[in-house]
Amino acid sequence: MSPASTSPSPGRDPLVAVDDLHVEFPTNRGVVRAVTGVSFSLGRGETVGIVGESGSGKSATALALLGLHRGSARVHGSVRLDGQELVGASDGLLRSVRGGRAGMIFQDPLSALHPHYRVGDQIIEAYRTHRGGSKRAARRRAVELLEMVRIPRADRRVDDYPHQFSGGMRQRIMIAMALSCRPDLLVADEPTTALDVTTQAEVLGLLRDLQAELGMAIVLITHDLGVVGEMADQVVVMYAGRVVEQASVESIFSEPGHPYTWGLLGSLVSLDRPRPDRLLAIPGQPPSLVNPPTGCAFHPRCPHAETVGAACQHEIPLLLGTGAGGGTGPGLGNGGGRRVACHLPVERRAELRPAGIGTTSEEVGS
């Protein structure tokens, strides 16, 4: 396995290449189209943030990356890890990837860890599944990993049970377990959502440090643009299972192109705006995935749908490059640059964008 490169090479030989990914679940009420045509790619050491509300298909995308959909779920398209196709791959290959070349962590670390086993044993199990070796050696590795994620007195706490740790520590234990075999890719599904704010910063900081140290790529699923600003190089904004905007993190924050992204940015508390408008909500509810609205799925909630007219109700907008303002972020793939799926005329977007969102904003990632 080649060592992680510190300078990612955009467009060329990405570590992860997702192309036209679809995930569907047949149900009694109809087919739920959880993910429709998601594509992105990222190189070693890079982070992509997948953002959206609940039900936008971001978690379904995360599970599909490791082939973790089961039962009646149908997955099409392509997920390549270092050139190796994972969609439709054999169980054996997928098992060797999961926990080996690609680790995963979840939203709620308390329910993601088995309550009946010691944390050390759970880490040892993950390690030995791929690397084998003696229990003693694996245990030493487990202590090392717990030290790596900054669990104090790791040599003793390795024998504790999950309920004996705080929420932040549990998530760090999950990270230790996911990284036990030094994966090239870490899929983090809402890793900080269940944690309180101070703990969130701690876990994100740890993830960033470990990424710098180990050179892994991170797919970060979140509904929180603040987390994205903190962590991501590029951003995929999802709505009703589709990508509505995809760009580098800088251009998402400086020149967001989609009204939904404006809404997401508006729902971050901003002191730049006068008081009643500091915290803005997107009106309405996320749409049904069985019967999504016709045309642009966002049109019932979009304040600008009338500006465009009938197209919003009848035509699904294509995800198109907007040319100017294309992000500087690496590895956007498929031509690079920023892409937006919206019927609004490109030249009118800047003018329609609510005041306080975009270029004047200070939330751009550190």
């Binding site: 999961r98 926990g99 377990m177």
Partner: protein
């Protein structure tokens, strides 16, 4: 932990004392006259009065109760003069019908009931959990539907019917098994198994159905947990995921009901013992009720109560050892 045990055992004694008091009151209130039953035909008022005296039945209820309780710890004597009989510690009363202390009667029969209960429990636990696990993993397929339907039939079948059908088929028609009987496993293991297999199956059928349904529900619940996805995301084989992560959680509540059921069964498998004529606690109890042998009925009631409460305590201890989140306090 020591404090927990001490408190639980103390609580257990109090519950048993209450049980004993209720049993006493019931027999006092009931229009039973044990002395008359004992002295039989040609009974005179004088004989009845003398038997009453011998048994201590002429004393007030609370005094009888006190005598009974103190007899458990110190032993006691029944009758007077040449009719004096000793009932040594721990004395749970004396059966005049059988002319033996109740504890002796119970100890004679306990191995039979214990053998029935242990064998049946092993059968239904192994069968029920396996069947339930298969149904859970094949959820909503024809396998699951067949298992669910069959277990419903198993639930609906009364034990006595299964027992009689087994007896008719296996012993009377096919002749593959001898008439069920109890032989000590230490004397003749072969005869022990062939003699006990029918009562085991008859009992296990109903329980296995219950356990299959319960295991199915619990395993489906466990397999939906996030930690199962974690296990798969670690790259574990599906088999290991199911057994080590799913079943490990699902089995805990199953063990709980196993303790309750097993404890209840030790108090006497009345129907099975009666159908197959096995000399266990259940049969002893039934005969004692029939003959109004009050000391035996009281002893059996206490024993059944003891097993149920003890099973509860053991379940709590086992549960705490299975689930590290449970703290005994």
């Amino acid at each position: 932990m020591a404090g927990f045990l001490l408190r639980r055992i103390l609580g257990m004694l109090i519950v048993l004392l209450c049980l004993l008091a209720v049993t006493f009151i019931i027999f006092y209130v009931f229009p039973a006259n044990p002395a008359r039953d004992i002295c039989g035909k040609g009974c005179t008022a004088a004989t009845v009065a003398s038997i009453d005296r011998q048994l201590g039945l002429n004393k007030p209820l609370w005094a009888q109760f006190g005598q009974y309780v103190s007899g458990i710890f110190t032993g006691r004597r029944f009758g007077q003069g040449s009719h004096l009989v000793a009932c040594n510690f721990p004395c749970f009363g004396y059966s005049y019908q059988d002319n033996l202390p109740v504890s002796t009667l119970i100890l004679q029969r306990l191995p039979v009931t214990a053998s029935i209960a242990v064998g049946a429990a092993i059968l239904w636990l192994a069968g029920g959990v396996t069947i339930g696990a298969v149904a859970a993993l094949k959820k909503n397929t024809w396998v699951d539907r067949v298992v669910t339907a069959t277990s419903l039939v198993g639930l609906a079948l009364p034990v006595f019917l299964v027992a009689i059908v087994l007896l008719f088929l296996l012993t009377a028609k096919l002749g593959v098994l001898p008439d069920p009987s109890y032989t000590s496993i230490f004397v003749n293991p072969g005869a022990f198994f062939t003699g006990m297999i029918q009562p085991w199956i008859a009992l296990a059928m109903v329980y296995a159905a219950v356990y299959a349904r319960f295991t199915r529900a619990k395993l489906i619940e466990a397999m939906g947990e996030q930690y199962i996805t974690t296990a798969r995301a670690k790259g574990l084989r599906e088999r290991r995921t199911v057994v080590h992560h799913g079943l490990r959680s699902a089995i805990t509540p199953v063990i709980t009901i196993l303790g309750m059921d097993f404890g209840g069964l030790l108090g006497g498998a009345v129907i099975v013992e009666t159908v197959y004529g096995l000399p266990g606690i259940g049969q002893l109890f039934l005969q004692a009720v029939d003959k109004v042998d009050i000391p035996v009925v009281t002893g059996c009631t206490l024993l059944a109560g003891f097993f149920v409460i003890a099973a509860n305590l053991i379940v709590d201890l086992v549960y705490a050892s299975l689930d590290p989140r449970v703290r005994l306090a």
